[in-house]
């Protein structure tokens, strides 16, 4: 597994920068990820969607756009915002160091004007409209809102048309200066990158990008929100929406215990194994529901762990939402789930998870993103094999007996309006 070891690149700018050398691949994938996401910008006086807006607008520089610079060096670029992170990415074949320079320039020097912010507002408005027609997106927003009332997690990552109308150049500059500091970044490159070449490049980078010196000296001033606001969960909501079939979603909130960040990743992996055992393709319940035509291939679940937030969303389309909701509820809150926790099934799902990490090594994007995210939790990609291997059936039994609490469950029905 040595080839998965990320090498930290020493540099005078104190940037937390790592390289996963995979010379057999043509490409290099890079990410600069900052510990700042939609829930951070949606709290207090900052309008919802500000982190996402900042992600869009940071590409603007005086007289050019960072994507043009990437293009000159043959890279394609992208960015995304999650609940707790914002990530700036590029993928390139060759010219790794020059593209890294563009990435560092991108994150270190904002250029916001009234005009360029207004133009971006129109584009983001189109993005919000795009999601607004999707029933699966709508039901998820309602579920999150009911699971975390008054918490920023209930807001859409992109905000809404009203909130983005309140975002101007000053708002963007304020949050940039408050949260975009080197200490909150993790920068990873995976692929044909050379640690030595990058190290050498960084020794002279400030000649080309002098403002990096100033960026490197910035320190955090504001703390970020680590824990969710735990108001009572709204247990049920019905909505109607343009869709072909009824949708149903269960949301289960798992309240933070005395866990540190590293333990949250262990919890995430335990939850993934547990839900695969009780709801995955191999589960008796799954087989029974399929046999009764209550669920189909649209049935899925997702485990979400971000800082000290942890939740599970179970989503499906079904012709009999009431009957399925009752069956799923009765199952999750009974001892039947414990009957699925059998040693041979456990070995299979544990192997399945280990295999997914092996597959992921073929994807530089996955290596870079996963490594950057894990670093915020004090873990490395290599350590995940050990983390997974150390989980045992007893851990899952304990988890299963603790997390299913009626008060932490919400159910959303989406009835089709054709």
């Amino acid at each position: 597994m040595d080839e998965l070891q990320a090498i930290r690149v020493d540099n005078d700018l104190n940037l937390p920068l790592y390289v996963l050398e995979r010379p057999q691949f043509n490409q290099t994938y890079a990410v600069a990820m900052v510990d700042f996401g939609s829930i951070d910008s949606a709290s207090g006086q900052i309008p919802a969607g500000s982190a996402h807006f900042l992600e869009h607008k940071l590409f603007a520089k005086q007289g050019f756009d960072s994507s043009q610079k990437y293009a000159q060096y043959g890279a394609s670029s992208n960015a995304f915002t999650s609940y707790t992170k914002t990530a700036y990415l590029f993928k390139t074949v060759g010219q790794v160091e020059n593209n890294l320079g563009v990435l560092l320039d991108l994150i270190s020097e904002p250029y916001f004007t009234a005009d360029n912010v207004q133009k971006e507002r129109e584009i983001i408005g189109q993005e919000i409209q795009m999601y607004a027609d999707m029933p699966e997106w709508v039901i998820e927003q309602v579920t999150l809102n009911n699971l975390y009332p008054q918490d920023a997690l209930g807001n859409d990552i992109a905000g809404d048309l009203t909130s983005i109308s309140q975002i101007d150049a000053k708002v963007l500059l304020d949050i940039y200066q408050t949260y975009y500091v080197p200490d909150r970044f993790r920068i990873y490159l995976a692929g044909s990158a050379s640690t030595t070449a990058i190290q050498q490049y960084l020794t002279s980078i400030t000649k080309q990008y002098p403002h990096l010196q100033e960026f490197a000296q910035r320190v955090p001033t504001n703390a970020i929100q680590q824990y969710p606001v735990l108001n009572p969960v709204k247990s049920m909501q019905r909505i109607t929406f343009k869709a072909q079939r009824p949708h149903l979603m269960f949301g289960l909130r798992i309240d933070p215990q005395q866990r540190n960040l590293q333990q949250m990743i262990i919890l995430q992996n335990q939850l993934e194994l547990l839900f695969e055992l009780i709801l995955g393709d191999t589960a008796t319940f799954h087989e029974q529901m399929v046999g009764q035509n209550l669920i189909d291939d649209s049935f899925s679940y997702s485990v979400i762990v971000e800082r000290h937030y942890s939740l599970v969303l179970i989503s499906m389309q079904t012709d009999q939402p009431e009957k399925l909701a009752q069956a799923l509820h009765d199952y999750l809150f009974s001892d039947r789930i414990l009957q699925e926790l059998l040693p041979e099934k456990f070995v299979a799902v544990q192997r399945d998870s280990l295999g997914s990490y092996l597959f992921a090594q073929n994807y530089m994007e996955n290596l870079a993103l996963e490594s950057a995210e894990l670093n915020f939790y004090g873990l490395t990609y290599q350590q995940m094999f050990e983390v997974l291997s150390n989980i045992n059936l007893q851990d899952l039994l304990e988890l299963a007996t603790n997390i299913f609490q009626e008060a932490n469950l919400t159910t959303t029905y989406l009835e089709p309006k054709k």
């Binding site: 597994m1 057999q24 691949f25 043509n26 490409q27 756009d65 994507s67 293009a71 000159q72 043959g74 890279a75 394609s76 670029s77 993928k91 390139t92 074949v93 133009k119 971006e120 129109e122 584009i123 983001i124 189109q126 993005e127 409209q129 795009m130 607004a132 027609d133 999707m134 029933p135 048309l161 343009k242 869709a243 072909q244 079939r245 995955g280 393709d281 191999t282 589960a283 008796t284 799954h286 087989e287 399929v290 046999g291 189909d296 291939d297 649209s298 389309q317 070995v347 299979a348 192997r351 399945d352 998870s353 280990l354 295999g355 997914s356 092996l358 597959f359 090594q361 073929n362 530089m364």
Partner: protein, 423 residues
């Protein structure tokens, strides 16, 4: 490049193998190739779904899923694709290379079991009724759900308009509800028999650098009889595109409007020129459409173009606001006009670099390597070498691109108009 190894086991049964240690996985894919017949498209997709879900030994989804999980998440998947005059039903395993464990042989045994011994009734004349009904139900539900994907719907509506004179190609590769309702477990078994006895078979393999497993497994293919038709991939343009401009509109209570426009290449244009033209027009975030419609005018979040190099047309798709349709249409027309007049060397160089880098990134993909092997077997004239591809792209000139743009003619437009007003 690693040397590709070919075996011609019998008429119509070929193996094409790239023994590579680049990936931490082995991919072994059976490609069953039949003529594309419109009325059989859904049957082949449903058969693919049935094969990947269960077999005689692992007779339910749960049992097969547990076996696959036990093999460290080995992936067993089937799909169908339409390639020119051909319908390709593929069944593949992708096996993670686990240090100090031999999962490959067990995974390949599972693949063989799935192909040789599917989930049939004891009389071996039809699929198990319950397994059949499950897949039919799933596929029917999928068709319904796809209706909520408005970008896809608009794209399919355009496909239908462009392929209206070509009944064998008008059905998408995932089939349609009308055909699905006529199928039964016996008919599907007949399709399965046809698969084994009349289809051309190309087995593509990527991995196994120690070269231990492949030769052994090739001894175990006697269930494939060698009396196949040797189908060939048509290289010529098969689609009779509309000769007069056609436009259709649908209005629905949606926030966003989908605009799809198709342009036909009226002169024969090489693949390399087509790719460069498309990249300049709407292939990435530096392309004219992205820069002018999104970045300058702020009229779209998503706008892009795609080229069909065989059928010689370009499709442009955008998600916009209904009130902006005319403005976006004009901007699109203007960008085509710009390409006939103002292509500079710098833009051309970028477009070429972007295409070449995508190709090289594709070489990092296990799946794409497998697809290239299949294409090589179907068309031996194709040169897989990246360097050859690069040379072809680099040879494209500004004059060629301008000429190709000048020869574009708008042939169809489809608007799925969202009627919900936004503030």
């Amino acid at each position: 490049m690693t040397k590709i190894i070919n075996y011609n086991l019998a008429p119509g049964i070929e193996v094409i193998w790239l023994p590579s240690n680049k990936f931490s996985a082995l991919k072994w894919k059976f490609n069953f190739i039949a003529p594309q017949i419109g009325s059989k498209t859904t049957a082949r997709r449903l058969l693919a779904d049935l094969l990947q879900r269960s077999n005689q030994k692992y007779s339910s989804e749960a049992r097969l899923a547990q076996r696959l999980a036990f093999l460290y998440g080995t992936d067993l998947s089937a799909q169908t694709t339409i390639l020119q005059n051909l319908n390709i039903l593929s069944l593949a395993v992708t096996v993670p290379q686990v240090p100090h464990k031999d999962v490959n042989n067990q995974a390949l045994t599972l693949l063989w079991q799935t192909l040789q011994h599917p989930n049939l009734v004891p009389t071996h004349d039809q699929f198990q009724e319950q397994a059949f009904q499950l897949e039919q139900y799933n596929l029917a539900n999928l068709y319904e759900s796809l209706t909520d994907n408005y970008a896809l719907r608009a794209s399919l509506a355009m496909h239908k308009m462009l392929y209206q004179n070509n009944p064998e190609l008008v059905v998408p590769d995932f089939g349609c509800a009308k055909q699905l309702s006529t199928l039964n477990a016996g008919r599907l078994y007949h399709e399965y028999q046809q698969l084994l006895t009349t289809n051309r078979v190309i087995i593509s393999i990527v991995g196994d650098p120690r070269q231990e497993i492949v030769p052994q497994r090739l001894e175990q293919l006697d269930f494939l009889a060698s009396n196949y038709d040797l189908l060939k991939l048509e290289s010529k343009n098969l689609v009779e595109l509309p000769t007069n401009f056609i436009k259709k509109q649908t209005i629905e209570p949606l926030q966003q409007t989908q605009l799809v426009v198709a342009y036909k290449m009226t002169q024969n244009v090489s693949k390399a020129i087509s790719h460069v033209l498309n990249m300049l027009l709407g292939g990435d975030d530096q392309a004219l459409l992205f820069q002018q419609v999104r970045e300058q005018a702020g009229l779209a979040y998503s706008i892009y173009s795609e080229v069909n190099v065989r059928q010689q047309f370009i499709i442009i798709q955008a998600g916009i606001t209904a009130k902006d349709i005319v403005q976006v249409e004009d901007l699109i027309d203007q960008q085509i006009k710009n390409l006939t007049q103002k292509v500079d060397e710098q833009s051309l160089a970028h477009a070429k670099l972007a295409i070449i880098n995508r190709r090289l990134v594709g070489s990092d993909s296990l799946n794409q390597q497998g697809e290239r092997l299949l294409m090589k077997a179907l068309d031996p004239k194709i040169i897989l070498d990246d360097q050859y591809f690069i040379e072809q792209i680099q040879a494209v000139t500004v004059r060629q691109v301008k000429q190709a743009a000048a020869d574009l003619v708008k042939v169809a437009e489809y608007d799925l108009i969202g009627s919900v007003e936004n503030g």
